[in-house]
């Protein structure tokens, strides 16, 4: 098989990641310190691949007879965000030194799964890619020190994953069965050709939505998420919250926002109903949380709900969606960098534990405040642009009264989220200091974590100020 150079180029991020996987696999078998070097190279390599992902020209990759993979704006955005979060997660793990070498292999494998999934144009590939994304996740969750809790988290994740996958597959089966094709475009065409079956096929459509949505915690499949986020080691939670969410959100967007959107008109309503329900659930459940990570989990559910409401807009809403996604992911990375940093000094998740952070470490404290505010959507931080852009798109492009109501509802519910973000901020800026907020060991690698958080905060501020340019940076627009 001779692959043209353009194909290799188009798959550069995936290929590069595979190479890294191989290298890391090799480290499993070397003795001495050599593995450390390779591991430290990984984040750099990932960042390079991120740049590469931006530079690769877009276009469908038709090498495999099937148009099973496409490189477009969605892919580019996904690749860049995945690389970024992958690099961050690897760095976290490198700093904390809590995990065996296999950790890195698994992270990179999962990353690879995510990379493939976001570009997949075909169900089988999508399925396998998502499984590749998930399996390392199941295992990573169980990496925690407190095995009882972390295995519980892993089992919940896995069992939920199994049932959700079954649901997804059943949906696939019904679609493929009635269309005889596994490509998205083929299915769209098939459904479009027989309009009578549209409403019947809405059921597999919904099953796929629910089955995929489980990973990002859409209602009714939200329940595992807070438990798993709390039970997993903090780096892994960061991994799930970034890599997992990016991939699945973009896959959902591609499926329901791009490929199948025109086909299933009524699906839009379904997505919006689920989205709003999810948003409301996540927001309200987070209100009185005392556990920081649980709070982030619930708030993450809320954010996902918001983003879901943008899917039916398709590419029209992609700008707003990507704004939201970028801001959310960057803020998440920053906050988990901070949480990883904190986990070095104390081993509890309660919000009170973070009391007085701004005093013990002002730069970091302020950065975290900025990150949280961005998540909450205080203008002009980047997080606000997502909500704002989303509301604008919803209002402009949905039918008139419905769109206005939806936008209003989205904004009003988002405002509620300020309450719990503020309750965290209150502790952070409190003047009474928690004695244990200082990490025990202060070295370059540890401060690296705070630099990541600060960098994320700066990014959100600058991004908020420059606005649209940030999207160009990620190849959107």
């Amino acid at each position: 098989m001779n692959l043209p150079i353009t194909t290799i180029l188009a798959f550069l991020p995936e290929l590069g990641t595979s190479v890294l996987v191989v290298l890391l696999l090799a480290t499993l078998f070397v003795k001495g310190k050599a593995h450390t070097f390779i591991q430290w190279c990984v984040p750099g390599a990932l960042l390079l691949l991120m740049v590469a992902a931006r530079l690769i020209p877009s276009g469908a990759v038709n090498t495999f007879a099937h148009a099973s993979f496409v490189v477009d704006q969605v892919t580019v955005l996904g690749r860049m965000l995945l690389m970024l979060s992958g690099a961050a997660i690897v760095l976290f793990a490198l700093v904390t030194k809590r995990f065996p070498r296999e950790f890195f292999v698994l992270v990179l494998l999962s990353l690879l799964g995510g990379l493939v999934a976001i570009g997949a144009q075909e169900m089988l590939l999508l399925y396998v890619a998502i499984e590749l994304l998930s399996f390392p996740g199941y295992i990573l969750v169980a990496f925690g020190k407190d095995k009882r809790v972390s295995v519980e988290a892993a089992v919940k994740y896995l069992l939920f994953g199994v049932v959700a996958t079954a649901m997804l597959l059943y949906g696939f089966a019904l679609l493929i069965g009635s269309c005889g094709d596994t490509t998205f475009s083929g299915i769209a065409q098939c459904v479009a050709n027989s309009p009578s079956s549209e409403s019947i096929l809405l059921v597999p459509f919904a099953l796929i939505l629910l089955g995929l949505g489980f990973k990002i915690g859409t209602v009714p499949a939200q329940a595992w998420l807070p438990d798993t986020y709390t039970g997993a080691p903090v780096e892994v939670t960061g991994f799930l919250a970034s890599v997992g969410k990016i991939s699945i959100l973009l896959v959902l967007f591609r499926l329901f926002g791009v490929s199948l959107l025109g086909t299933f008109q009524k699906g839009a309503l379904l997505i919006i109903v689920l989205g709003v329900t999810t948003l409301v659930f996540g927001t309200t459940a987070a209100l009185f949380q005392k556990n920081f990570r649980r709070l982030l989990a619930y708030s993450g559910i809320g954010h996902v709900g918001f983003m879901m409401c943008l899917f039916p807009l398709g590419m029209v809403g992609f700008q707003a969606f990507s704004w939201y996604l970028i801001s959310y992911i960057v803020a998440t990375i920053g906050i988990f960098a901070y949480l990883t940093f904190s986990s070095l000094s104390f081993d509890q998740d309660s919000i009170e534990a973070h009391q007085g952070r701004i005093k013990s470490n002002p730069q970091l404290g302020i950065s975290v405040v900025v990150l949280l505010l961005s998540m909450a959507g205080l203008p002009p931080l980047l997080g606000f642009w997502g909500k704002f852009g989303g509301a604008v798109s919803v209002m402009r492009d949905y039918p008139v009264p419905a769109g206005w109501l939806l936008a209003g509802a989205l904004l009003v519910v988002s405002v509620v989220s300020f309450f719990y973000y503020l309750s965290v901020i209150r502790q952070l800026i409190s003047s009474t200091e928690n004695s244990s907020t200082q990490p025990k060991k202060e070295c370059f690698s540890v401060s690296l974590l705070s630099y990541i958080a600060i960098g994320a905060a700066v990014f959100l501020v600058v991004g908020g100020i420059v606005g649209e340019q940030i999207l160009t940076l990620f190849g959107v627009g």
Binding site: P379, P380, F384, V415, F418, L422, R426, I429, S431
Partner: protein, 483 residues
């Protein structure tokens, strides 16, 4: 970069400077930065051409072209005085912060940041930019209350934040809706104004109502005012000064520019209900003030009452009423910070806000007492001091527009006398109370903070034309919409 954006940026530069310098220089740096900003705004004021009604010092840069968002700033007759007031009060508020001891750096950072956002609100001529500044001003205030406030600061701060946030979310919805309704989609205020006739009336009404909710919370109007007393009581003195002095004005300014200035046809519809709510504000706030024995609460409720005058003036849609409303905003922006400051001066000395705790302050603190009394009288609308002009003009406007309804406003004037006297007499007169023996009179810093305010009360009351000339042409233009 033009003068205005430079002015906006300057406090931010100050913030950076503050973070770099050690904490012992924080106060002086903040003071200098705010003072320079104030001087900048004064320069702005003096180079402001009062005869032309177009935007001056206008700057327009593209920001998010795809959404029609630009960085459009400028000052006109409706905003110039509020700009100056903001920077002026910031200087005084920072000056009044001598009692703050912990986390100095953060404290002053918050104030400078707040200053920048306040200036931004008043100079923004892009709806989005306006909203950004509007929202952004909340956070520093939240921090100020939550960190340096009284006992129930956390509750008050969150309440303030969420309350106003809920209000402003309606504002945001309205803003987005507005941009969606105009073709091409834009957030640029002058463009929208030129296109307003293309928007159907019922949508105009919808937007006006949405905006009104947002501004009503900020103003605040009864019944969405309950955040204010709590916030004031718990806020540190300087925070209260800015909150009462400038932040409430944002609501009035919003009504002026984005409700009455934007959709004349729709605004006419809500003018009368708004007028009635304004009257309710006046009387209700006054009654509440009367029932308080907590000094700060009393002043806070008096603020509610006074802002009612702003509303009735605006809702009158008469030249005299609208001018009076703007003037009343300025007047309240001078008297209420002064009141909060004098209360703060007392609190700093005795740590009590209870009127019954005090007595005979006139004997122990004569200079303070004179200034206190002047401030209180200015606040109750004594002619010759700044509070009167606005009250008169708004009442007159209301009368011309709606007739005898303003009697309720008159009742507010009377009640103002009652609660102010209650405060003045309760604190200053009588035998020297046990807790007040041997209190020191005003320090030099305190005099420096209070005297400019008192001087302004006189200037505004005696020579209101000095202020009116900055207001008139703009208001005339606005009122023409309603002829």
């Amino acid at each position: 970069m033009g003068f205005l954006s430079g002015l906006l940026l300057f406090p931010v530069v100050g913030v950076v400077l503050l973070t770099l310098l050690p904490a012992r220089f924080s106060r002086i740096t903040a003071l200098l930065v705010s003072l320079l900003t104030f001087i900048g705004t004064v320069v702005l004021l003096f180079s402001f051409n009062t005869t032309i009604t177009t935007l001056q010092f206008e700057e327009l840069y593209q920001w998010i072209p795809s959404l029609g968002i630009g960085f459009h700033v400028g000052v006109d007759h409706l905003s110039i005085l509020l700009v100056v007031l903001s920077s002026f009060l910031s200087v005084l508020a920072i000056g009044a912060s001598y009692g703050v001891e912990k986390n100095l750096k953060a404290y002053y950072v918050c104030f400078l940041f707040l200053l920048a956002t306040l200036l931004g609100v008043f100079v923004a001529h892009d709806l989005f930019l306006f909203y950004v500044f509007w929202e952004l001003s909340l956070f520093p205030l939240y921090v100020i209350i939550a960190l340096w406030g009284g006992e129930r600061r956390v509750y008050a701060a969150i309440k303030m934040f969420l309350y106003t946030l809920f209000g402003s979310i309606f504002l945001l919805i309205g803003i987005i809706l507005l941009s969606v309704l105009v073709q091409p989609h834009t957030f640029d205020l002058p463009t929208i104004i030129s296109l307003r006739d293309t928007i159907p009336l019922q949508f105009q009404l919808l937007i006006v109502v949405l905006f009104s909710i947002g501004f009503a919370v900020k103003l605040p109007l009864v019944p969405v005012h309950t955040w204010l007393p709590d916030a004031h009581v718990e806020a540190p003195t300087a925070g209260s000064m800015l909150l009462a002095g400038v932040l409430l004005k944002m609501g009035g300014y919003g009504f002026l520019r984005l409700v009455f200035g934007l959709f004349p046809q729709a605004a006419v519809v809500i003018a009368f209900p708004l007028f009635v709510i304004g009257l309710v504000n006046i009387v209700y706030g006054a009654f509440l003030a009367l029932a308080q024995s907590d000094l700060k609460k009393l002043v806070a409720y008096s603020s509610i009452s006074h802002m009612g005058f702003v509303v009735i003036g605006l809702a009158s849609l008469q030249d005299i009423g609208v001018q009076g409303a703007l003037f009343q905003m300025i007047a309240h922006g001078i008297t209420s910070p002064a009141l909060f400051f004098v209360v703060g001066v007392l609190y700093h000395r005795t740590h009590s806000r209870d009127i019954k705790f005090y007595g005979g302050i006139a004997t122990v603190m004569p200079v303070f007492s004179v200034l206190f009394a002047l401030t209180a009288f200015a606040s109750l609308g004594l002619p010759g001091l700044i509070g009167f002009i606005g009250e008169f003009a708004t009442l007159a406007g209301g009368f011309i527009a709606y007739g005898w309804w303003v009697v309720a406003g008159g009742a507010g004037v009377f009640l103002a006398g009652m609660y102010m006297l209650k405060m003045v007499q309760g604190v200053l007169w009588g035998k020297v109370a046990d807790g007040c023996k041997g209190l020191k009179d005003l320090t030099r810093t305190e005099v420096l903070v209070l005297v400019p305010l008192v001087v302004l009360m006189f200037i505004g009351g005696i020579a209101p034309m000095l202020l009116f000339k900055y207001i008139q042409p703009g208001v005339a233009l606005l009122v023409q919409l309603y002829l």
